[in-house]
């Protein structure tokens, strides 16, 4: 299986990364090399094997269900590129 230029552009859009035609062309060759490496997995017989999502298995630990003090809002917003009155600003989405 080999990717095409339009695949690369579609994936880049899904990943919300802007790529120029030149970048997409360069990525195409590299991604296809990497997929050649990954293709080796297709020939492994994995019948009856459980997927391993975590080294130690088990279930997700949940914390006790009780209210907790939230982190400080000002501190959490201090790195925002654009903000106003305690809100994050983004380009207008509703006319």
């Amino acid at each position: 299986m080999a990717l095409t230029l339009s695949d690369v552009k579609r994936i880049a859009h899904l990943a919300r990364i802007e790529v120029t035609d030149a970048e997409a062309g360069q990525a195409l060759g590299q991604l296809n090399d990497i997929f050649k490496l990954i293709e080796q997995l297709q020939s492994v017989d994995t019948t009856g094997i459980e997927p391993m999502s975590h080294p130690l298995g088990g279930s997700q630990r949940l914390r006790e269900d009780r209210a907790d003090t939230p982190e400080n809002r000002d501190a959490n917003m201090m790195n925002a590129p654009k903000q106003q009155d305690g809100f994050f600003l983004v380009p207008k989405v509703i006319e």
Partner: protein
């Protein structure tokens, strides 16, 4: 004084032979005089000296740990209140965290004094430290060689005696490979031992913090303060605290060291093989017995890793959108344009490449064929380790196929760079502890590392076996020319 180990510095501080402030000044001067290595990303003497003064107050009151007043530096993948936290990426340029990573906090609580933040590959993605937005790090042994990656700044700083210890992280080999290339001791613990809270995420089911020092004894001392359960990390393992120094005087008589034949096959350079075989012979002299073992599917670790790690990375790095923090484009456009441009300008080529691979393998129609299949092969590899550990107590072999390569040698070909982690990835996939200790020199007088791996939660024995080797040899004490000034 800068040649002293963590253990020696801790004792000298308690004996008042030196103060924490004096040590902080000494190492800050060394950071400056070794600036050409580009190991450090952010240094703030006023922060360091204030922590050192606090440590001296503790020492005066007798409120001490073996680490109080001892300097350390943190890989710039751990967030810190007092220094920039950038993951060596443009997308987090000048980012100041509102909190400290748990590990930074724990080492600070023990009284360690932070010298600042260390350069690394962008988002810990790389094997040569050439992927940092803030420039490459030089190998103190040979300035034309890479220090290894992704924890290249940590390795170079410890090797050049700019810091006695440095935190690091390992996702597929990012502690062991740079430790081998730069001739220092590096260990990653069992997955779940070190808190991931405040460690900027790359591949969450693999990421694990560890430490680089010059000796196994020092690593054990730092682990005592650094590891342990953290309720803020959902994959943290809840076990009783243990003393990682308890087995340093391990008796090696009769210990079975498994030697995987797959780690000595095609691709392994003769100079590395020679040094590693000599290290194995040293273990035999110390009483251990070598056992031939097999990890038949270890080589599939690389394709498994390059499905799972990019998949998890594409998910983790989706948080960078130019809205809440991080780089935001100055171009005008709608919301989607703004996000796409911000990400495109902020991420370097390697994170972009991995985000694209990850997005693809997780996309509709490919999820089962790639992602689930990779997770199944991951289990096959992990099970092979468990079978091997029925026949041996530890596993030993090379860390890398060659000594450190030169700048630019692999940068243009991602696949050849990815193959650098052939021997380290299998242990990462299984989640077992692993370490690299210096065991000699190869081509161009560049360092060689011996890899030691143990079963889950067997770090104390791993450190003990490494310590015994370091008592019998002096490779770990050799200093590069850059360290002598």
């Amino acid at each position: 004084m800068f040649e002293k180990s963590v253990a020696e510095l801790g004792r000298a501080l308690i004996a008042r032979e030196v103060s924490a402030v004096e040590l902080a000044r000494l190492f800050l001067e060394r950071i400056e005089s070794h600036g050409h290595l580009n190991a450090f990303r952010d240094v703030r003497p006023e922060v360091t000296l204030s922590q050192a003064r606090a440590a001296d107050v503790r020492i005066a009151k007798g409120d001490v740990t073996p680490l109080t007043g001892v300097p350390i530096a943190h890989k710039d993948i751990f967030v810190t209140r007092d220094f920039y936290s950038t993951a060596s990426s443009r997308i987090l340029e000048n980012y100041m965290s509102p909190f400290d990573a748990t590990i930074v906090e724990k080492l600070g609580d023990a009284g360690m004094v932070s010298l600042g933040k260390l350069n690394c590959d962008e988002f810990a993605m790389g094997s040569s430290n050439e992927n940092s937005y803030y420039g490459k790090v030089l190998n103190p042994w040979d300035k034309s060689a890479v220090p290894g990656g992704s924890s290249g700044g940590s390795a170079a700083a410890v090797a050049a005696r700019i810091t006695p210890a440095a935190t690091a992280t390992d996702t597929g080999g990012s502690i062991r490979e740079p430790a081998a290339f730069s001739g220092v001791t590096g260990i990653k613990p069992t997955y779940g031992r070190a808190s991931r809270w405040g460690m900027i995420a790359f591949a969450s089911s693999l990421d694990q913090a560890g430490i680089m020092t010059r000796s196994a004894e020092d690593a054990a001392l730092v682990f005592n303060a650094m590891l342990g359960f953290d309720s803020k990390d959902s994959t943290s393992v809840d076990r009783v605290a243990e003393d990682y120094t308890r087995s340093l005087n391990l008796n090696l008589e009769g210990m079975r060291i498994g030697v995987p034949k797959e780690f000595f096959g095609e691709g392994l350079q003769a100079d590395v093989e020679k040094a590693v075989r000599e290290a194995l012979a040293e273990y035999v002299k110390l009483g251990a017995r070598l056992v031939d073992i097999s990890l038949p599917n270890a080589a599939l670790g690389i394709p498994v890793y390059y499905v799972i790690a990019p998949a998890e990375c594409s998910s983790n790095l989706s948080r960078f959108d130019g809205v809440r923090y991080g780089h935001r484009t100055t171009h005008n456009g709608d919301l989607i344009d703004m996000i796409k441009k911000s990400r495109s300008e902020g991420f370097g080529p390697e994170p972009k490449r991995r985000i694209l691979i990850g997005t693809y393998v997780l996309s509709h129609g490919y999820y089962d064929a790639y992602y689930i299949q990779a997770q199944k092969v991951r289990r096959i590899i992990a099970d092979e380790f468990q079978r091997a550990f029925r026949e041996c107590d530890l596993i030993a072999g090379p860390v890398t196929t060659s000594v450190a390569f030169g700048f630019g040698e692999k940068a243009a070909d991602p696949v050849s760079m990815y193959l650098s982690d052939l021997y380290t990835i299998p242990g990462s996939l299984a989640g077992i502890p692993g370490m690299s200790i210096p065991c000699g020199f190869g081509a161009k007088n560049r360092p060689v590392g011996l890899q030691l791996m143990a079963n889950y939660f067997d770090e104390a024995r791993l450190l003990g076996a490494a310590h015994r080797y370091q008592q019998a040899t002096d490779w770990h004490l050799r200093a590069p020319p850059a360290a002598k000034k």
